[in-house]
Amino acid sequence: MKPVFEEAAPVELTLRVNGATRTLRAPPLRRLLDVLREDLALTGTKEGCGEGECGACTVLVDGEAVLSCLVPVCQVSGTEVSTVESTGLASIQQSFLAEGGAQCGICTPGMIVMTKAWIDACRRDGVAPDEDGARLALAGNLCRCTGYGAIVAAALASARGGGAP
């Protein structure tokens, strides 16, 4: 939470988070990240930098990957927000476990959500998932543990194995 984003008068808004409708009062610029972590107790979404550089706070808004540290909550009223706590990520999560794509784990929720967005985009656009595509999709998610090889392997395995349902 950053005080500068909390200054304006709170507004009431409604959004769907992981399938459930949530109504809350929040200052309009309150970061979606803080709404998720503090107001909704969904701490799976991580803050690594607060300035849109690391990707740890990646969530989906209406299916598109965004950095929740840069999204003011007023811009997501009426949308569908999905986090690492949402259902439907089991096979991606399984791939990350099997390939060793999670080490310290702090970038992992963002990586998994981004992988979901990538697989969905491949399906929507009719693109065959490949390593270059996975690397491009995950380029906004920093990891300092793995060297990325196992993460890219996990993303590919979930995309090819039927991936996200």
Binding site: P28, L29, G52, E53, G55, C69, L70, V71, P72, Q75
Partner: protein, 281 residues
């Protein structure tokens, strides 16, 4: 601090009518939120235009390719029209941040913040784009070169917003090139960024040259002297000499946390030689 979330263009313009010099427009928030987070900006009023549908469209008209200011980089990447009419704009959009930023960052925001390191702005310069501005009472159009006035400053009046960018139709003989040199291959801010268009006549002479560069001065700059030299006629084997002679006066690179003035000057010239040689041969 007051926040107005506009649902329509009229609501946004009404809110802007009460704006001050400390007020800020917010579209994707990828610049403003970072500026606020770091304490560099503390607006009295934020006008949120991020969800104004009337600002988010791409269409081809007689005037060329028109892009609503709220169009995101991802919208550009998905647009067949944009790729056909403004291929280097799409290429530049692909090098903005990474996917998550591309999903939020807008054409209007990238231009409107007037960062000297902006990735799209040099392309808009090279494409001779025009900026359509609108306020509650009026609308006007400016050449993009006139719109960007200095370091993070523009000709936008505080009651105006960028409604759209208009890119004139591609000339039949027009060739284009874009290159960004950043701190890494994604999620990076540019050290040097160059965009150029050359309109070649049937004799392969340069009829019109537009060359723009970012991160080499306090604002995105046109390399007017080099453009003029090319339009006067430069043989392929004299490109290096022309670049060496005509670039320095239009740029003013600095040392900063990302690179050095020496590197920026040298790389700008090396890239120009490469890009011009490839474009002209």
């Amino acid at each position: 601090m007051k926040v107005v979330t506009a649902r329509t263009l009229d609501e946004a313009l009404a809110a802007l009518a009460r704006a001050t010099s400390e007020s800020r427009l917010m579209a994707g928030g990828t610049d403003l939120i970072v500026e606020m987070e770091s304490g560099r900006t503390r607006p009295d009023l934020v006008v949120d235009v991020g969800r104004v549908a009337a600002l988010r469209w791409i269409r081809v008209t007689a005037d060329g390719l028109e892009v609503g200011a709220g169009t995101t980089c991802t919208d550009l990447l998905r647009s067949v029209d944009a790729l056909r009419e403004a291929d280097i704009l799409v290429q530049a959009a692909r090098e903005v941040g990474a996917v998550q930023i591309q999903n939020r960052a807008t054409v209007g925001g990238n231009l409107g913040t007037a960062s000297p390191a902006a990735d799209l702005t040099p392309v808009l310069f090279a494409l001779d784009a025009r900026v359509r501005l609108r306020s509650a009472g009026a609308a006007r159009e400016l050449a993009v070169d006139d719109f960007v006035t200095g370091y993070r400053s523009t000709a936008r009046r505080i009651d105006e917003l960028i409604e759209a960018i208009v890119i004139p139709p591609r000339a039949p003989g027009e060739r284009r090139a874009f290159r960004k040199v950043g701190t890494r291959r994604a999620q990076s801010i540019s050290k040097v960024v160059v965009a150029l268009t050359l309109d070649l006549g049937p004799d392969r002479r340069v009829r019109r040259a537009r060359i723009a560069a970012g991160s080499v001065a306090e604002r995105t700059v046109r390399l007017s002297h080099l453009e003029a030299a090319l339009e006067r006629g430069v043989a392929v084997n004299a490109i290096a000499a022309a670049v060496a002679r005509h670039v320095a006066s239009d740029v003013r690179p600095r040392d900063d946390v990302r690179s050095t003035a020496v590197y920026r000057s040298a790389v700008l010239e090396r890239l120009l030689v490469r890009m011009l040689s490839e474009t002209l041969s």
